[in-house]
């Protein structure tokens, strides 16, 4: 006779367990040369800071770099005449769970040389910090805020590192982490209470809010004063 299966309530109260260590891990770099011209240039210029490369999804070259040198490498990739990756298409994060490092992924494109390149930085869970590249590409500003919001990666030097998708006062953590419970950490009643206590003026402009006028107030009934 086995113990009764835990209900969803028990599981919510106990919190999440570490995810399955046998789950697929991050793809690893492969040995060998790359056809992509930026890979050899990166390796010759930055040496050990470039940790490897791999061709993924057919034609996408991925380069792993050391996070402490990321700002230097990305600045060079943007400014060097032979590279000129002038468009930061995406900055995102990946959590593979089981205490594995969180990866920050930069997807870049050079409109001059018509080349795409993807960089990945492994960040250990105890040091989720990396230099911000919002000063190089304006598009990285909101994308880094999104990674901060959902994965908890701190971007050093970011001009405005706030949450962007979740409410500003969200206190339950970073939802896309593998150790985040599916329904959040608070009860639904607490989540509802906190949601309705939000200051709407903080994330909607005053013009938008003024459209419908102030909230409807039902005037309290008062007895007419007797004239004396």
């Amino acid at each position: 006779m086995t113990e009764r299966p835990l209900s969803g309530l028990d599981a919510v109260e106990r919190g999440p367990l570490p995810s399955d260590p046998s789950a697929p891990a991050a793809p690893a770099p492969v040995e060998g040369q790359s056809d992509h011209p930026s890979v050899a240039a990166l390796a010759s210029r930055f040496g050990p800071a470039v940790q490897g490369h791999r061709l993924m999804a057919g034609d996408q070259t991925v380069v792993w770099i050391a996070p402490e040198k990321s700002l230097e490498i990305l600045t060079w990739l943007k400014d060097d005449p032979a590279q000129q990756y002038d468009m930061m298409s995406d900055v995102t994060g990946v959590d593979y769970g089981s205490g594995r490092p969180i990866e920050v992924v930069y997807q870049m494109f050079s409109t001059v040389h018509k080349r795409a390149l993807r960089l990945r930085c492994r960040l250990p869970l105890e040091a989720l910090e990396i230099d911000s590249v919002a000063g190089l590409w304006h598009s990285a500003n909101w994308l880094e805020r999104e990674v901060y919001d959902l994965f908890g990666v701190t971007f050093k030097g970011h001009p405005d590192l706030r949450r962007i998708l979740m409410p500003f006062d969200y206190a339950e953590g970073h939802p896309l982490r593998k150790d985040f419970p599916l329904r959040g950490r608070f009860s639904r009643a607490e989540q509802t209470r906190r949601a309705l206590a939000q200051d709407v003026e903080r994330f909607y402009g005053s013009q938008e809010l003024a459209h419908g006028g102030p909230p409807q107030q039902v005037p309290a009934r008062t007895e007419p004063e007797a004239e004396g």
């Binding site: 835990l6 367990l17 570490p18 509802t192 906190r194 309705l196 419908g212 039902v218």
Partner: protein, 223 residues
């Protein structure tokens, strides 16, 4: 038998044009109940406040377009200001970040007002039984009619609005404050209390792999 036949003297003094009730000496008034007249006016000029957040809103637009033609029931005027709206149609999923906005729009609508929760997500959270999603807007605002479906067909929305009309038809002005009174202290607060929210949204929801994701042992791995 026309309407004129029912009026006192109306049926007996037909003029040549056949409009006896407007003829000389015939009565030019109707007697009715004030409840009936007011409810008749209210239910045939419902102005919806569309709160469309997802695919349900597409069906709501289809219901308002010419093929289904919501205007047949007096709802041709989608009011994009809550101040001129009678019925809030919440069509689509509502995340917690949007909950105070929905509540404020409801507070801004003048009485009398009604609310339609359109679709599975607005009514119960639907498949989005996750950290970010309101599990049914009835925890935020009072709901009169739930329209099931994912998304409901336009006929479903029209049927829901006709149920609102039926509800209005049975209201009485003498009980106006009973139906319509609002406590100003409850503006911008949740409609349901804590026990109701837990009961409505309890963690036995509809996400199929909650136990696996939470790490609870199942029959497969506990043996």
């Amino acid at each position: 038998m026309g309407l004129g036949d029912l009026l006192p003297g109306g049926g007996t003094q037909k003029s040549e044009g056949g409009l006896g009730m407007f003829g000389a000496g015939s009565p030019t008034f109707l007697t009715t109940k004030i409840d009936f007249v007011i409810n008749w006016g209210r239910r045939n000029s419902l102005w919806p406040m569309p709160f469309g957040t997802a695919c349900c809103a597409i069906e709501m637009m289809a219901a308002a377009a010419s093929n289904f033609d919501l205007a047949r029931f007096g709802m041709e005027r989608m009011s994009f200001s809550p101040r001129q709206a009678d019925v809030l149609i919440c069509a689509g999923r509502v995340p917690y970040k949007l909950a105070p906005v929905l509540r404020r729009i409801w507070d801004q609508m003048p009485q009398p007002k009604w609310c339609v929760s359109m679709g599975a997500c607005a009514s119960s959270g639907g498949v989005f039984d996750v950290y970010s999603m309101v599990q049914g807007i009835d925890t935020i605002v009072p709901v009169d009619v739930y329209v099931p479906g994912c998304p409901p067909r336009p006929e479903g929305l029209i049927y829901g609005l006709m149920m609102i009309q039926e509800k209005i038809r049975e209201e009485s002005l003498s009980r106006h404050f009973e139906h319509r009174a609002e406590d100003p202290a409850l503006v911008a607060l949740a409609k349901a209390n804590e026990a109701e929210i837990v009961g409505l949204t309890g963690p036995f929801g509809n996400s199929t792999q909650q136990e696996k994701l939470s790490g609870a042992p199942t029959d497969d791995n506990s043996a």
